[in-house]
C-alpha cells in the first residue's frame, strides 16, 4: 500500500521498530495510549470487567506475538482494537453467554425499520441530571442489552469517538452498515432512557408529556 507509513509519526514508527526486535518496554509505550479503548471494547462486548481485563491482556500479548503482521496500513490502535474485538467475540462464543443477551427485541415495522417506542420530550436535560446515578446505571444497562452488532458500533463511534470510516474498518463493515447500526443503537438507547419510561430523568416533571401519535 503506497504511502502507508504516513499514518505513523516518528515516535510511533521508532517504538514499533524497537518492539519488533523484542523490546517490550517499547511495545508497552505503544499500547499505553490505547489501553482504555482496549478495555472499553472488551468490557462492552463481554459485559464483565474481569473477563474484559483477561481479554484485554490476551489481546495485547497476541499483538506483541504477531507484531510482524502489522504492516502499518492502519493505525496501530486500530489494529490493536481489531484484535481485542476478535478475542472478545471468541470468548463470548466460547462462554455462550450471548444466549442471554438481546432480551429486548427492537420495535420494527413490516419493512424492518425501527419505530421509536414513544415520543417523550427529552429536551430539558440539565448537565447535573446527566450525572445522576440512576441515569448512568440505566444507560449502562441499556448499552449492555443492545444486540452485540449495535453495541460494537456504538462503543467505537460514540464512546471512543472514532469516525464512521475507522469504525467500518475495525469491524470490517461498509460505512453504510455502520450508519444503519449506529442509528438503531442510538434509537434503542433513547427509547430505553426516554423519560417516557417513568419521567424521573427530568427535573421539572410538570413539563413532561408522554405522547403517542397512534
Amino acid at each position: 500500500m503506497g504511502g502507508a507509513k504516513a499514518h505513523l509519526d516518528a515516535t510511533e514508527a521508532d517504538l514499533l521498530e524497537r518492539a519488533r526486535q523484542g523490546d517490550k518496554e517499547a511495545f508497552y509505550s505503544l499500547v499505553c495510549p490505547c489501553e482504555r479503548s482496549v478495555y472499553t471494547a472488551a468490557v462492552s462486548i463481554l459485559n464483565n470487567p474481569a473477563d474484559a481485563e483477561d481479554v484485554a491482556q490476551e489481546a495485547v500479548l497476541k499483538a506483541f506475538t504477531h507484531l510482524a503482521r502489522f504492516r502499518a496500513e492502519a493505525k496501530f490502535s486500530t489494529w490493536l482494537i481489531q484484535i481485542t474485538i476478535n478475542e472478545a467475540r471468541l470468548k463470548l462464543r466460547k462462554d455462550r453467554r450471548h444466549l442471554q443477551e438481546s432480551l429486548d427485541e427492537p420495535h420494527t415495522n413490516e419493512d424492518g425499520e425501527y419505530i421509536p417506542k414513544d415520543f417523550a420530550d427529552w429536551r430539558e436535560v440539565p448537565s447535573e441530571t446527566l450525572q445522576q446515578k440512576e441515569l448512568r446505571e440505566a444507560l449502562k444497562r441499556a448499552i449492555a442489552h443492545l444486540p452485540l452488532k449495535y453495541r460494537e458500533v456504538l462503543i467505537l463511534r460514540d464512546v471512543q469517538q472514532r469516525t464512521i470510516k475507522e469504525t467500518a474498518q475495525i469491524l470490517d463493515l461498509t460505512e453504510g452498515a455502520v450508519k444503519t447500526r449506529l442509528l438503531r443503537a442510538r434509537l434503542q438507547i433513547r427509547d430505553a432512557l426516554a423519560p417516557g419510561v417513568d419521567g424521573t430523568w427530568t427535573t421539572s416533571k410538570a413539563g413532561y408529556q408522554k405522547v403517542r401519535p397512534w
Binding site: 517490550k24 420530550d121 442509528l183
Partner: protein, 78 residues
C-alpha cells in the same frame, strides 16, 4: 430553495446521520423543515443528541484500578 416534504419514517431513517452532520445540504433542509413542524421528531432528535452526549463522556468505562500495572506485568512476565 424549495424544500420537498419528508415523512416521519424518512426522518427517523436519517436522524442519526443528521446528528453526525452526514447528510447533504438538500436533505438537511428537508429535515430541518420537518423538525420545525413536528414535535415528535424533534423529541426524538433531542433524545438522540442527549444519548450521544451521555454515551460520549464514557464514564461507564473507567479502567479498573491497577489495570495498567497488571497489563505491564503480564507483558514483562511473558
Amino acid at each position: 430553495m424549495r424544500v420537498i416534504e419528508i415523512s416521519c419514517l424518512e426522518v427517523w431513517r436519517e436522524i442519526s446521520n443528521y446528528v453526525d452532520g452526514e447528510v447533504d445540504a438538500e436533505l438537511r433542509a428537508r429535515l430541518e423543515a420537518h423538525f420545525k413542524v413536528c414535535a415528535h421528531c424533534t423529541a426524538i432528535l433531542d433524545g438522540m443528541r442527549n444519548v450521544v452526549k451521555l454515551v460520549g463522556d464514557g464514564v461507564e468505562y473507567e479502567l479498573p484500578d491497577g489495570f495498567s500495572q497488571r497489563l505491564y506485568r503480564k507483558l514483562m512476565d511473558r
